[in-house]
Subunit: 463 residues, 2 copies
């Protein structure tokens, strides 16, 4: 055990108390009434960074919830890493399903229960403690460190893009290490290599000026619902492939190695089906279910509506019908290009079919996200893999995310750097749900892991 690890061991119980303190601040970013609590959480974080020995601590206004900055830039010749995490939380509803109040953290069976315990206060406190252990035990850090902890992640970080664009200099770094992340299981580590991008399109079909009586007009006047279902049915084929022209053009095919790495990740199809309550999985021909979610683009209808939705029968011929869809994108697809292709598909369908008596419109909706991926061989991934191998005694799975993690794309766009996830949350820890918890074993293992990671990325260049 090196001195920093000894420091961690001898401060275990204080750190745990501090975690409970941090978790007791109801920093729900989506509730206007809790804005003061988000600010209080920022102050707590700033104070904790100061106590850890970090410098140039600043609570930075963003126009929304603040960002906490700090740095320690004395490792000449070493890389500069930016640590990321967030101190805001999800709301607590439905409150009645919590076993104990969400902002009165309690420890039961080696787990701390509270809103934000895992996502992300527990995880983001870990690197602060690692920094303290390194600073207090050796007087310095093996690398240059900056931190960006934000208070608006759970509402989609609305002010962060502008903020980052304006503060490029300050946050310049070699890469980002994100504490807003997790592991595969208590005994199996993982590294995340990619997440999918997003674009969204709305389709509107409009007919007569008003809803019509299906007896008085039915047969003579176009029904927008019939036009819409025909159009929507043209977006995918029977094999689950998207039929929008050019949709797959920029998709970088998975290499044999990547497919092998995906196949190595345990996947219990039966358990997955049972959990979802379906008798079979369905998706694009030629790919495994995991490949379909992690590495293939999709086009999914998120909502379709028009006409009567109540009980019984209403003989209405509706005046309009609507659909919303989103596409999940993989490298190197571009959200603007793909949403434009979907819009063009709709326009061409309408042009070739010429449906009478309706207007068909499609438009991109806001919410674009670029697909994001980081090479497995990125030095920080290599360092993280080595640390995880050492701590878990096995090779980390190389996983991917089906969703979008906008912050990775933000750092890539504004700072030009990759983000490596290094967190210790687990899938069963009820994030965004009642009885969110975090394992104290993860909290402690995470501190050791971060110490080792920072030491190792320092060694990478030094050697």
């Amino acid at each position: 055990m090196n001195p920093a690890e000894e420091y961690l061991a001898s401060n275990r119980s204080r750190f745990q108390d501090e975690l409970l303190q941090f978790l007791s601040i109801p920093s729900v970013s989506s509730e206007p009434g809790n804005a003061g609590d988000v600010e209080r959480a920022a102050q707590w974080v700033a104070e904790r960074l100061r106590a850890a020995g970090m410098e140039h601590i600043e609570i930075m206004p963003t126009g929304g919830h603040p960002v906490v900055y700090a740095d320690h830039l004395h490792a000449e010749g070493q890389p500069t890493v930016l640590l990321y995490g967030h101190f805001d939380t999800q709301p607590v509803d439905p409150l009645e399903l919590w076993s104990s109040p969400p902002f009165e953290p309690v420890i039961r069976d080696g787990r701390v229960y509270a809103r934000g315990a895992c996502d992300d206060k527990g995880n983001m406190l870990i690197p602060i403690l690692a920094l303290e252990a390194l600073l207090k035990s050796s007087g310095g850090l093996p690398v240059n460190v900056k931190v960006l902890f934000e208070g608006q992640e759970e509402i989609g970080s609305p002010q962060l893009p502008q903020f980052l664009a304006a503060e490029r200099e300050r946050f310049a770094c070699d890469y980002v290490l994100s504490a807003d992340s997790g592991q595969y299981s208590e005994t199996e580590p993982c590294l995340g290599l990619s997440c999918r991008g997003l674009c969204a399109v709305q389709i509107d079909v409009r007919g007569a000026r008003t809803d019509l009586h299906s007896g008085v007009y039915g047969g003579a006047v176009a029904n927008p619902l019939h036009v819409l279902v025909g159009l929507l049915a043209s977006l995918r084929d029977g094999e689950g492939r998207v039929t929008v022209e050019g949709f797959y053009d920029r998709v970088v095919p998975l290499t044999a190695e990547e497919r092998d790495a995906i196949a190595r990740v345990p996947f219990d199809e039966e358990a997955y089906q049972a959990q979802l309550g379906v008798e079979a999985l369905a998706g694009e021909a030629g790919y495994s279910p995991v490949e379909r979610v992690w590495a293939r683009p999709t086009l999914e209808l998120n909502g379709v509506w028009g006409g009567f939705q109540g009980e019984g029968v209403k003989t209405v011929l509706p005046k309009e019908a609507h659909a919303k869809l989103t596409c999940r994108l993989v490298a190197d697809q571009d959200p603007v290009e793909v949403s434009s292709a979907v819009v063009r598909h709709v326009e061409q369908w309408a042009e070739s079919r010429q449906p009478l008596g309706v207007r068909v419109e499609a438009r991109a909706l806001p919410g674009n996200a670029l697909p994001y991926s980081v090479p497995a061989e990125h030095p920080a991934n290599q360092a993280a893999a080595a640390v995880l191998r050492e701590l878990y005694g096995r090779e980390p799975y190389l996983v991917r995310g089906g969703g979008s993690v906008p912050v990775c794309e933000l750092f890539f766009t504004h700072l030009g750097v990759h983000t490596i996830g290094f967190g210790f949350g687990l899938d069963d820890e009820q994030i965004h749900a009642p009885d969110e918890f975090f394992r104290l074993s993860s909290f402690e293992r995470g501190q050791t892991a971060w110490v080792k990671l920072l030491q190792r990325v320092g060694d990478q260049i030094a050697n």
Copy 2:
């Protein structure tokens, strides 16, 4: 002018006062709080029939709003006609759009404004006045007459089927003359020959147990919306024909004469489009717009829904998707047969496509109505045509209804007789809407017409 017509002329102003009296009773059948008013209207009608000289007057309980019965059965050897109408009204909402209170009838510019003025109190009072004119001027009636005036038409006559089934004997007749009907315009008469039937089906597609995140699961799990739109797109072809097997099997084709009669009815396609706000009409190939509405069956989606319908974007993979549809039917289609054929189409589609990971279900909904038609050469149609020809100076158009008029089918089913519409409402009289009105000219012409009609149907047999 015969004595009955003279009687009408000399009682004009009293009849008008009585109409206003009748219209001031707020007999809204859908409002539980107005049930006493519906009862009061029944008493008013019973009293008015007594004053007219009718016999065996009875307010008959139905389990819901009552029926008023009366008869005058002294025309030996003559047919028995049953007069039909209703004394209940639609609700008045939105009240603020009325120019004067809906149950404080006022006369402006030769029109009486009140809820129920046209539909149907004004129209149903007319034959009572004609009966009085005939009875008071000659002491008898040229035919045997029974009346059935009901108080629940505007809520779909829920108790009437059972009531009629139990009272077949009492209501036995040669045919029904319905005062719940109208003319083509102030100068153009018409006779209605048919209305369409109805059946309804709901389709449900269900996938996973809960709504899913389209990032975490999208690609691997069936999306019920995609399955539904594919299924719905299979119900009609590009030419507007229904593709459900057997759908058209029982449809009696229009004869050349019937198509001619329909073509003779004025139809201004441009004005129709302008009124609806559409740039073109759309429908089954090979038929005119009027034929499509009056004499061809349809399958119309009345509602489709699933997933997110709000503002912006929600990346949900919905657990279920639904559709409601109704078919309008023409002779000799059967609602049970057609809804079964639609359900079978859905089942066969699901069987042949085998969509993975979803359950597809279809079921008939209540609300069946048989298509109804009466031959143009029915003796009562002949008599009505002659009266209209005499009063308007031109041949009545032979029109059809695209909607369903359940009471025609009820009389046919339970009494085995046809119903001939003989009313004087016009399309612009705002029925079911604010500022409903009835032309006093129609009120008066109607009285003469009914006197002539009853005399003529008496003559038919006598000669």
